[in-house]
């Protein structure tokens, strides 16, 4: 993990309240796994004492760039969105443990994402695709306005889209698509709101897979115990999302 002032080179609104931002920085040369995140300082002075964790959605080592996508939610993300190309952002990263793409032997991967949980799966799909692994992506959004990266994902594998209201793709949830399609895969990888994570991991209970979870963070580096999740089999009974996660084996942790 390093600490760097990343230079913003582009900023785009790519869906409703959803911003894509690309930075230039040495950090891109680190070995970054999909699922790892940046811990970003927001604003100036003491307006924001806590950094914001945002997943890495893409890395270009050649250009030395890192891309993130974030949703405008509260004050922090709204302030982040005001930063312009040329400005610098104070970042810690890559933080946490990502999806172990290099260690897993597999032929077919199922990626299941919901809303703003989709971005890290894009970087994951790229990495898996590069390794020649067949990728199926199931993405769920509230409605058409929220959808992003549809074309980009289609280039990397089989892409299924669900929206709550049916305004794009199929009407329903990602679990409806998984049920209907009955995919055949070696490992699943999921990221999204807790409700979706629970539904997916229950549905795929008999399969091997990984989930990425969110929690409010303090330090982001494992020192403050803000971000724990129960992990009954571990020695201490819990794991830290910022340091031991955010990516865990689906059966390793207990979702609240």
């Amino acid at each position: 993990m390093i600490h760097e002032q990343l230079q913003i080179i582009s900023r785009k609104t790519i869906a409703k309240d959803t911003v894509e931002m690309t930075f230039h920085g040495k950090m891109a040369q680190e070995d970054i796994l999909p699922g790892q995140f940046l811990h970003l300082l927001v604003g100036e002075g003491s307006n924001h004492m806590l950094r914001r964790p945002i997943s890495i959605a893409g890395v270009d080592k050649q250009e030395s760039t890192i891309t993130i996508l974030f949703k405008l939610l509260g004050e922090g993300t709204n302030t982040l969105a005001k930063a312009k190309p040329g400005d610098q952002l104070d970042a810690l990263g890559p933080c946490g443990q990502g999806y172990p793409v290099d260690e897993l032997q597999m032929k077919h991967a199922l990626l299941v994402g919901g809303g703003i949980g989709v971005p890290p799966l894009y970087y994951l799909a790229q990495r898996l695709h590069e390794k020649g692994i067949q990728v199926t992506i199931v993405a769920g959004f509230q409605n058409k306005e929220q959808v992003f990266y549809e074309e980009a994902f289609r280039e990397l594998g089989n892409y299924y889209l669900a929206t709550d209201d049916g305004s794009a793709g199929e009407k329903g949830f990602v679990t409806d698509i998984i049920k209907k399609e009955g995919f055949d895969f070696d490992q699943f990888f999921t990221c999204g709101p807790t409700g979706m994570l629970k539904a997916v991991s229950t549905q795929l209970e008999d399969e091997e897979g990984f989930i990425s979870i969110e929690q409010r963070m303090g330090c982001g580096i494992g020192a403050c115990f803000a971000c724990v999740v129960p992990a009954p089999d571990s020695e201490s009974g819990y794991k830290k999302i910022c340091k031991d996660g955010p990516v865990f084996r689906a059966k390793e942790v207990v979702l609240a």
């Binding site: 993990m1 600490h3 300082l41 003491s46 307006n47 924001h48 004492m49 806590l50 950094r51 922090g76 810690l92 929690q215 409010r216 963070m217 303090g218 330090c219 982001g220 580096i221 494992g222 020192a223 403050c224 115990f225 803000a226 971000c227 724990v228 999740v229 201490s236 009974g237 819990y238 340091k243 609240a256």
Partner: protein
């Protein structure tokens, strides 16, 4: 410039130390900078046996501050001694053990055990954690109990005892006086103010524990007031804290009467903040006409003419 400060049990290269609970057991920050730079390190609270703490969310952001309700999660004193302290033995920086408990017996047990470890140079007796039902805050708000637990811990501790006071009291000087009578070697203040944030969408308190402890720059004026008031009534050394983010803030605490200054929440915003403050401190001291840290301690009282033991 001479940044040294000597306090009971603590021979510090400079007056800066991370505050308990904001620096874990040092390992994570050791990956960022050399812990030998620090004046001392206060580690996360230790209790008699492992505690899992409160549910999540455990932190919330507030204006110029944050709320936390970690709930004293820690692996218990034995595990800390076995798994955490050996790593810290590699550094030439005095370590302060933050000791918590629900009963006098628990405080005594933890203090006895941990004070015997050679890396531990002082105990910070945490009678002020607001985040657990049985977290010892009753000891921090009742002068009789405060005195009693201090005396009991003093009896078994091999190292000096700094009592960490709660700001959530009507008159902090009464508690300070009580722990002084109990034999405290020093005082540490302030712990967090109790506060709450309500989640508008969820229509309930945001923290799982509902109430949490407020820290960060927002609370600095309260902390400075308390350090100043206590400095007027006792000569016990004070480790001051609450909202420190810059070397100027450190000087403000020194002037108020603190001999050392702890940095908590700011580590989350700027993980290198302690090392940066140490680097900037000589310039700030000389800008304001001081030639050493010792020179500045308590100097905000020179013109004092009123007794402020009660505001």
């Amino acid at each position: 410039m001479n940044l040294n400060v000597k306090l009971p049990g603590l021979d510090m290269k400079n007056p800066i130390l991370p505050a308990s609970g904001c620096f874990g057991f040092g390992k994570e920050y050791a990956g960022l900078y050399d812990l030998n730079l620090l004046g001392a390190i206060t580690i996360k609270a230790a209790t008699g046996s492992a505690r899992y703490g409160n549910g999540t969310p455990r932190v919330a952001e507030t204006s110029a501050g944050m709320l936390n309700a970690i709930g004293l999660q820690n692996p218990g004193v034995d595990q800390i001694i076995e798994n955490e302290l050996p790593f810290l033995a590699g550094y030439d920086t005095p370590i302060i053990a933050n000791v918590a408990g629900s009963t006098v017996e628990e405080y005594v047990e933890v203090a006895r055990k941990i004070s015997k470890h050679p890396v531990i140079k002082a105990i910070e007796l945490n009678i002020s954690c607001p985040n657990v039902k049985e977290g010892g805050v009753q000891f921090g708000t009742d002068p009789e109990l405060a005195k009693m637990v201090t005396a009991a811990v003093k009896e078994v501790s091999d190292v000096p005892v700094y009592v960490k006071l709660s700001p959530n009291v009507t008159d902090i000087t009464v508690i300070a006086r009580a722990v002084e009578e109990g034999g405290a070697d020093g005082l540490s203040l302030i712990n967090t103010l109790t506060g709450m944030q309500i989640n508008l969408a969820g229509r309930k308190p945001l923290l799982a524990n509902k109430i949490g402890g407020l820290s960060g720059p927002a609370v600095k004026p309260v902390a400075i007031r308390m350090v100043y008031q206590i400095r007027q009534m006792t000569n016990l050394p004070i480790i001051g804290m609450g909202g420190v983010t810059t070397a100027e803030d450190v000087l403000e605490f020194l002037l108020a009467g603190a001999s050392a200054v702890a940095v908590g929440t700011a580590n989350f915003q700027h993980p290198f903040v302690c090392s940066e403050i140490i680097q900037n401190l000589p310039d700030v001291l000389s800008k304001y006409g001081f030639s050493s840290v010792e020179d500045a301690i308590g100097k905000g009282h020179e013109h004092a003419d009123t007794n402020l033991s009660r505001a």
